[in-house]
């Protein structure tokens, strides 16, 4: 697991977005030229309830410094209990992360709606800053 990125580099973040709801929100952030770090990568899936905890762990182990699940929240058109299901996936992933010694702060979830351009850009900037602080704290501690 990466955990400690190259000195000076921005934290690498993987966002799992959803095709119908959060991905259009992320598209809108781009259409409105709202800037966020280019080290944020996005991977769309139909619904956040379909994410396997093992994929989130895989991303962290392969070198992403943080994983962000941009969930459908209440808007999900497939599953009425999508928010609950996604929270359960996050909780399960956090258990696995704890077992592997990966700090829980490296995983975040928030509902991103199809017009949530500004909140998305803001989340990315904040998450990136939080990961930088996490790494700075870790390097002080070590």
């Amino acid at each position: 697991m990466s955990g400690s990125p190259q000195p000076g580099s921005a934290p690498r973040i993987l966002v799992f977005s959803t095709i119908n709801i959060s991905d259009p929100g992320i598209d809108l952030a781009g259409s409105r030229h709202l800037e966020y770090p280019a080290t944020v990568q996005t991977m769309p899936v139909p619904c956040s309830s379909g994410l396997k905890p093992s994929w989130l762990i895989h991303a962290l182990e392969k070198g992403f410094d943080g994983v962000f699940v941009a969930s459908d929240g209440e808007e999900c058109s497939y599953l009425p209990d999508c928010a609950e299901r996604t929270s359960h996936i996050i909780a399960k992933t956090q258990e696995l992360m704890a077992a592997k010694g990966i700090p829980a702060q490296r995983l975040k979830m928030a509902a991103v709606c199809s017009v949530c351009a500004e909140p998305f850009a803001k989340y990315m900037i904040e998450f990136s800053e939080a990961l930088k602080r996490l790494d700075a704290d870790a390097s002080v501690a070590s």
């Binding site: 990125p5 190259q6 000076g8 580099s9 921005a10 690498r12 993987l14 119908n20 991905d23 259009p24 992320i26 598209d27 809108l28 952030a29 781009g30 259409s31 030229h33 709202l34 800037e35 966020y36 770090p37 280019a38 080290t39 944020v40 990568q41 996005t42 991977m43 769309p44 899936v45 139909p46 619904c47 309830s49 379909g50 994410l51 396997k52 905890p53 093992s54 994929w55 895989h58 991303a59 392969k62 070198g63 992403f64 209440e74 808007e75 058109s77 497939y78 599953l79 009425p80 999508c82 299901r85 996936i89 399960k92 199809s114 850009a121």
Partner: protein
């Protein structure tokens, strides 16, 4: 219905795939901020990539032809286009693959405009690295793509409309006009819904009753529309394009059952009017009425003369707006949209009956949007008085000792003075609430929003479709709105029905869940997690395993993480594809601060 061809196993060696990668400049929308040549060069040696090239406009006709030629000449079996959002051109490039004889599901679009060049306009190095990752990741997905085929079946040229209000009736005529037989099922003994009860209605003064009568006159002349009243939809089987529905006709001699094949279902079941609680703004007191009750009073009054209530003349009216709407957290938070205009319009009608009646409008905000603003102006011009109250200081209603009603309000427009208005009648301008329709919701699996109205897939881009293929929603069952807006949605559902059915056949996306019979241990856990009941147990090789019906699976993947033995894959997003795509995303070097020189772009 033809069976879906089983998905072939991924090629033995994915690295032997022959993939074409096209990186689009999009004029300069991408190439001004991303070094597309560097992306092309980074992809050249990627395993399985045979073509890596840049194009000025990948979506142009000329480039599409060139792609088709290259696919044929070089025997490509996979295609990746790095361009705009897949929402814009996924279908375009899947068609390119199709026209070239390539499996369209071997196409992957990398979204490098909305999600890269446009979002990182001041970080060319960073954006370029990001795009390299996104394109490699798309190549990884294509490398592991299965050969998939849409499920194709014949469509029935008939639609069912549930609800015979103005939305449903107009939709039925639209369906017949477009060449689809229409069957309307109306629960009440009469068609017409709310509009069928009203006289003069906005805009203009056309009567709701007359409009419904004119729709019914058109329907009676047509053999391709059947209307059943006192009828309900009671069963549904099959899949979109080819549903078999059961209709129960409630008749004097007992219920009669009908069975019918239909291709699509348009739900136009409307709304209910908000019913105030006892004592809410004096509701229950003699002289306090709701908006529908007031409309009835106006409709039964003479054209010119007196307005009376319970035999008593009405000389003054106070309207209290936003009753049952905009209630704040826990209540009906939405604006009901039609009611400001309806109250204003009603006051103009009252004015015509007897101009000497004094009318007071107690409002929070007036939302007479668009052309309805003119009615607002006309009502003020005709003498109506408007008083604005604060959200947290609603008016109160009491009985006056001398008879009549007293409405107390603090008017923000006159230096927040408290005013007591003695009036004969108080009209509560009641909004809309979702209609109780539990059995229909359960039967059709209609998605219900937190406000209780039905949810479309996307409010702008897919405004009448639901996640249940072939089931559309239209009118006030979706949200509060005017009759004209309801009818527009009804006609959108007509167009959508035609788009689904008129070709004579339909295809379902094959990106559905698939169970690996070797891994499945038959625990049955996944059966209960699918709200669409797409998973059943089957006998397989002498044991019970789970199986997904591709015609009803919605492809959400919700069952995938819940399988204890990892036996479920969502096609197009398989475990192998996701893992490989994640690895490729991260494989590009992260730009260090020194490299990521910020290049200002004019």
């Amino acid at each position: 219905m033809t069976e879906q061809k089983p998905a072939e196993e991924a090629k033995a060696n994915p690295e032997d795939r022959r993939i074409g990668v096209y990186i689009c400049h999009c004029g300069g929308n991408i190439s001004d901020y991303v070094d597309v040549e560097a992306v092309r060069d980074a992809l050249v040696d990627e395993p399985g990539v045979v073509v890596s090239t840049t194009e000025l406009f990948a979506c142009s006709d000329g480039t599409q032809h060139d792609m088709i030629d290259a696919i044929k000449a070089k025997g490509l079996d996979g295609l990746v286009v790095a361009s705009c959002s897949p929402k814009l051109h996924q279908v375009t490039f899947r068609n390119v693959a199709n026209r070239a004889g390539m499996n369209p599901y071997a196409y992957t679009q990398a979204n490098v405009r909305e999600q890269a060049s446009w979002a990182h306009q001041h970080d060319r190095a960073g954006a370029t690295e990001k795009v390299i990752g996104l394109v490699r990741s798309a190549v990884a997905k294509t490398r592991l793509s299965d050969e998939l085929h849409p499920l194709r079946f014949d469509t029935v040229q008939r639609s069912l409309v549930v609800g015979g209000g103005i939305t449903g009736l107009r939709a039925a005529i639209g369906l017949a006009d477009i060449g689809l037989e229409a069957v309307v099922v109306e629960k009440a003994p009469e068609v017409g819904g709310w509009m069928g009860r009203f006289g003069a209605s906005f805009p203009s003064e056309a009567s709701g009753k007359d409009q419904i009568a004119s729709l019914m006159a058109q329907i009676k002349d047509r053999r391709d529309i059947t209307v059943y009243t006192s009828a309900e939809l009671t069963s549904k089987a099959g899949t979109f394009g080819n549903y078999t529905v059961g209709i129960t006709l409630h008749r004097d001699g007992g219920d009669k059952e009908l069975s019918l094949d239909v291709g699509s279902i348009v739900v136009a079941t409307g709304f209910d009017s908000y019913n105030p609680d006892d004592g809410e703004y004096g509701y229950g007191m003699d002289g306090v009425v709701t908006l529908p009750e007031f409309k009835e009073l106006i409709d039964t009054a003479p054209a010119v003369g007196k307005l009376s209530y319970q035999g008593r003349p009405v000389r003054s009216v106070a309207y209290i707006y936003c009753v049952g709407s905009r209630q704040g957290a826990g209540g009906n938070e939405y604006c009901s949209k039609f009611c400001c205009t309806s109250a204003i319009h009603s006051s103009l009608l009252v004015n015509k009956i007897d101009p000497s009646i004094r009318q007071f409008h107690l409002y929070r905000d007036i939302r007479a949007y668009g052309k309805f603003e003119l009615e607002y102006g006309a009502s003020r011009g005709a003498g109506s008085t408007y008083l604005k109250f604060a959200d947290d200081a609603p008016p109160t209603v009491e009985k006056l000792p001398k008879g009549g009603l007293g409405v107390t309000v603090t008017d923000l427009l006159t230096a927040s003075r408290e005013v007591i208005l003695p009036v004969d009648l108080v009209v509560l301008v009641t909004g809309m609430v979702p209609r109780q329709n539990k059995s229909l919701i359960d039967l059709l699996k209609l998605p219900v929003g937190t406000d209780g109205f039905f949810n479309e897939i996307h409010p702008k881009l897919r405004p009448v479709e639901t996640v249940v293929d072939g089931v559309m929603i239209a009118g006030c069952c979706q949200a509060p709105r005017t009759a004209a807006e309801s009818v527009q949605a009804g006609l959108a559902a007509v167009a959508q029905s035609a788009a689904l059915l008129k070709k004579g056949y339909a295809e379902l996306e094959p990106l559905v869940a698939k169970i690996d019979p070797d891994k499945c241990v038959g625990s049955g856990e996944c059966l209960s997690v699918c709200p669409y009941e797409s998973i059943t147990m089957i006998e397989w090789d002498g044991r019970q395993i789970a199986s997904v019906d591709p015609s009803t699976c919605k492809g959400c993947g919700g069952c995938v993480p819940l399988c204890g033995v990892d036996a479920i894959d969502l096609l197009g997003y398989t475990d192998a594809q996701m893992r490989s795509a994640i690895e490729e995303l991260i494989s590009a070097e992260a730009p260090t601060k020194a490299e990521a020189v910020k290049e200002p772009v004019s």
